[in-house]
Amino acid sequence: METLNSAFDFSDFPRLDLFIAGVAAVLLLIFPVFPHSSFAMATLIQFFMFSLYGMGWNTIGGYGGQVDLGKAQYVGIGAYTTAVMLIRWDVPFWVSMPIGVCISVGWSFIIGYPLFRLKGHYFAIATIATSLVLKDLFEVWNFVGAARGLEISPIKYNPPDFLRLIFKEDVYYYYVIFGFFLVGILYINWFRKSRLGFQLRSIKDNENVARSLGINVHWAKIKTYAIATGFVSVVGSFHACYIKNIEPEDTMSLDISILIALMAMLGGAGSLWGPIIGAGILIPLKSYLKEWLGASANLVGIDLIIYAAIIMLISATEPKGVWGIIEKIRRRKRS
């Protein structure tokens, strides 16, 4: 009960923030009713997915300060679990998704145990390595289609199939991921005020102080890493049903890992709204730049340059991201 109350308690945010968040939520809720391009729809679905990835990353990376650049491996595990189980044994999404989470979390414990003996950059590099190794394994593993990947063919099913999450129209996917998005916000809102959330912030501050306050630092990190993994794995499973065509290169590449971390870093690591703001900026920017500029033959890749420049600018001027800038302005106004 206390948990639920805490999840729905946003009272420590200023009224203005809650008003903006409420308006945004209503707009997102009614968006599909209005005429829109399928491109805009796809972009918004991507926005929700990457917000969720970012929220997951934010637990260990933002609140805990452990820069993790290997989240793509869990996108892959989630996506492949759902795809393989659907194609081979016709297991519906709502069953395979939790199984995927269990496998991801199990794997995260196995690699988290040794990884969290490392600190700072060494930890970041090690997470990259584990993710890339797993991707290479999937590329030669015939059971999961090796490098060709897997394809879920929608003709076999009767869309709209809510159990298997197979739809013809994107609007269904939109509302499913929107639901996950809202649950994700509630979870993180609870998490940041929970015992583990406080312990992590203390760990980020100073590990020795945290230890002497009775916190098992290693275990707290592993637990949080598993939470982050759970988030990513759920969206990975969704990704399989939504994209329907998964390959190791698309789901588990280093780009995805870095993009996930950047969502939270750009928006503001260690804050509730940070990953959402980050995804709100980066995802439309990325897809529209790709659409407008990438189409002209000579400008392929310019989207990457522009978006890298924005990232450099933000990280050079305000390491706490967009949310850090907002908080700074507020503090100045108060004093």
Binding site: E2, F198, S202, D205, N206, R211, S212, G214, I215, V217
Partner: protein, 248 residues
């Protein structure tokens, strides 16, 4: 039975012996001053006792249990709290949240942790500062926050590492009052590392002196302050020779 017993503790960092065969015991209800010149190994000794550093040899018994091999979070859970000399309060936790982290060791409930933190902040007169970030506060208040956080663990033994360093005389008086409150009202045994002699001599029941990693004196404040070895450690051999008559 002693609350804490340190027996023949040795701590080496590579070739450097930071603590050399240190033995002492602390009875329940004591206030022990741990003094010595800079680099004498006082903080290292704290780190060994609280489990942040693994000891090279020797043993530590706390409340009847051998805690020599326990990690810092395990000794904390058994009732040993400590503060740090340099508190790097760079993070974004507020004063109240900081104290809550301590309280969260004994409870999982947010409401209970918040309530207990409020009590502690009140008892140390910090209630007006609870929404500030620790890094924004003056040193004296920061030190009080770290004490409040440590008290959140409900400890039996409190290790204070230079809580009076850098404070002005009236702030030192206030710190003395806090330590007395901790000792008298909460019944917590205290070991304090301190350079501020006014504080050590005033409240310690016993003083342990370290120099170059060795224990050179152990006794009541008065006798220790007259001990030639202690004076030598602080003021040098020449001073002792020149003032032989005065020192007796």
């Amino acid at each position: 039975m002693a609350l804490l017993e340190v027996r023949h503790l040795i701590k080496d960092f590579g070739g450097l012996r930071a603590n050399d065969d240190i033995s002492f015991s602390v009875e329940k209800g004591d206030i022990i001053g741990l003094i010595g010149p800079n680099g004498a190994g006082k903080t290292t000794l704290f780190n060994c006792i609280s489990g942040l550093h693994p000891v090279t040899s020797g043993s530590i018994v706390f409340d009847g249990e051998d805690i020599t091999r326990l990690k810092a979070h395990e000794t904390a859970q058994r009732g040993m709290a400590r503060t740090f000399q340099v508190y790097a309060a760079s993070g974004d936790l507020t004063v109240e949240e900081n104290v809550m982290v301590g309280c969260y060791m004994r409870t999982r409930s947010r409401a209970k942790a918040k309530y207990r933190a409020g009590e502690l902040l009140n008892s140390l007169n910090l209630q007006d500062l609870s929404d500030y970030q620790v890094g924004e506060l003056p040193v004296a208040a920061q030190k009080k926050v770290t004490m409040a956080t440590a008290l959140g663990l409900d400890p039996k033994l409190l290790l204070l590492d230079e809580v009076a360093a850098g404070l002005n005389p009236s702030e030192i008086e206030e710190t003395i009052a806090v330590i007395k409150h901790v000792h008298n009202d909460l019944g917590i045994t205290v070991i304090l590392i301190e350079h501020v002699m006014a504080l050590v001599m005033k409240i310690s029941h016993r003083v342990v002196v370290l120099d170059y990693g060795k224990k050179i004196a152990d006794g009541n404040p008065k006798s220790v302050s007259k001990d030639p070895r202690v004076i030598k450690a602080y003021l040098g051999e020449r001073y002792v020779n020149e003032h032989k008559e005065e020192l007796g």
